[in-house]
């Protein structure tokens, strides 16, 4: 479904991604783990078209999207739950969800999807008129996920959705991710919480300073000595 091939990304002189390649098959959960500053967020931003790679290519559903405008990429079916949630703080919960459906013209279906989001996150429904900035961290993360779902993505990119949440909520978020996936959405999950991520993913990539250093099925990586030592705390 998504094929990232040998991309090089620079921030000025900083070589942030070095010949990075990732393949994601339809219907899977793929996780990308790595330490702070490894380049995970950069990878997601590049897929979404916010940053342009200097070389290499990105294809989605067999279409080259390497130089495609970000809004077209959204229209093609790739949404992102960005790092740090990035909800529109001075807009209501409802308006945030509407923004997620910004490119859609099928009003009736949008309403139905809105109801689905509210069924999935009843707390958002109660707070639909509330400003997003006044939500708790967990609620904001749910809103960020709901907002991304409103675009009806085929591929959902999630950047550290468990960041800063209490353990109980982290568990809930991971269950939600699995549920979204079971309803047909392919997921690329960036996580620091390697243990949880590997436990729900099909395939995994490990990044260090802009490069993929390990890849395989989630099971393989979970049992790999290197991953255990560096990311699973033992």
């Amino acid at each position: 479904m998504l094929e990232v091939k040998d991309i090089d990304v620079y921030y000025g002189a900083i070589h942030a991604l070095k010949k990075l390649s990732i393949t994601i098959e339809k219907g899977k959960i793929v996780t990308l783990i790595g330490a702070n500053g490894a380049g995970k967020t950069t990878t997601l931003k590049t897929i979404s078209g916010l940053i342009r790679p200097r070389s290499g290519s990105i294809t989605f559903k067999n279409v080259d999207i390497t130089r495609t405008a970000p809004e077209k990429i959204v229209a093609m079916g790739i949404s992102q739950v960005p790092e740090g949630r990035r909800v529109f703080s001075a807009m209501t919960v409802l308006e945030n969800l509407e923004m997620g459906a910004y490119l859609r013209r099928d009003k009736k279906e949008v309403e139905m999807d809105m109801e689905k989001v509210f069924t999935r996150f009843p707390r958002l429904k109660e707070r639909r008129k509330q400003l997003a900035g006044t939500l708790s961290g967990g609620e904001q993360q749910m809103l960020a996920i709901g907002r991304a779902l409103m675009a009806q993505p085929e591929l959902l990119l999630m950047d550290e959705p468990s960041m800063g949440l209490a353990p109980l909520l982290v568990k809930e978020i991971f269950e939600i991710i699995q549920d979204i996936n079971s309803q047909g959405t392919t997921i690329l999950l960036v996580e620091q919480n390697a243990h949880m991520a590997l436990s729900i993913a099909d395939n995994a990539y490990v990044m260090e300073t802009g490069e993929i250093v390990l890849q395989g099925t989630a099971k393989e990586l979970m049992n790999s000595e290197e991953v255990k030592r560096a990311y699973l705390g033992g």
Partner: protein, 293 residues
Amino acid sequence: MLEFFQQAVNGLSLGAIYALIALGYTMVYGIILLINFAHGDIMMVGAYVGFFSISLLGSNILVAMIFAMVTCAVLGVLIEKIAYKPLRNSTRIAALITAIGVSLFLEYITIFLLGATQRVFPASAFPAKYYNLMGIVISNKDIFIIVSAVLLMIVLHYIIKRTRTGKAMRAVSLDREAAVLMGISVDRTISVTFAIGSSLAAAAGVLVGVYYNTINPLMGIIPGLKAFVAAVLGGIGIIPGAMVGGFVMGILETMVSGYGSSLYRDAAAFGILILILLVKPTGLFGKNNGEKV
């Protein structure tokens, strides 16, 4: 006391004009963090378009206003595309200097093309009538200015709060990158912002023509600066702040002229600016981060 209310009424129409101009400043700032110093001059162009559509085409004041608004919407979009867009990733000071350049360009191209002399707004466009409301005198001009400004603000409020485009403008102003991830086109949103802000300025320009009766190529400078102060007073980037700030500035100015001396009225405006910057730089409506709509 009657005198006080009379001054307040006089100040309302001036304030309505400042509010319309301040809205454009604040909307543009909210979305690209630029103080568009050419904004007052766009108002001037609007006044001229209104003037010519009345004097040459014989249109009535409403048609003149619509004409001016459409022309300036296009002008605003062009200015953004030609002058500001190429600088979007450079320093803010570069964009600010460019805005001053655009301002001077508009002023002097108008002088070059139309001459520096002032023109008298055709009196036939708006025959004056006066009404006496319990001792307070109000003219049909004042009523027209206040009503049309308030109507435009209601329309603006509706656009920003309820329409898809208005929500996109707010989203871009709150978090540009997140807005892009929603599929919102930043270029298009910025264009719409300039179009709306400039058309409000154009409407204000025609209203200034009605208010002062005369227009000239440099007429945008002082009202532009005062509207800028109004925007800062309300909290730059905050739309209701610009509305309130505009009315406060207008009323204050007529009070200072009425009770003190008209010599002090401009000084009062800039005194206020200094005071806000000292006491509450984020403005009346500003929160501590208060840069956004």
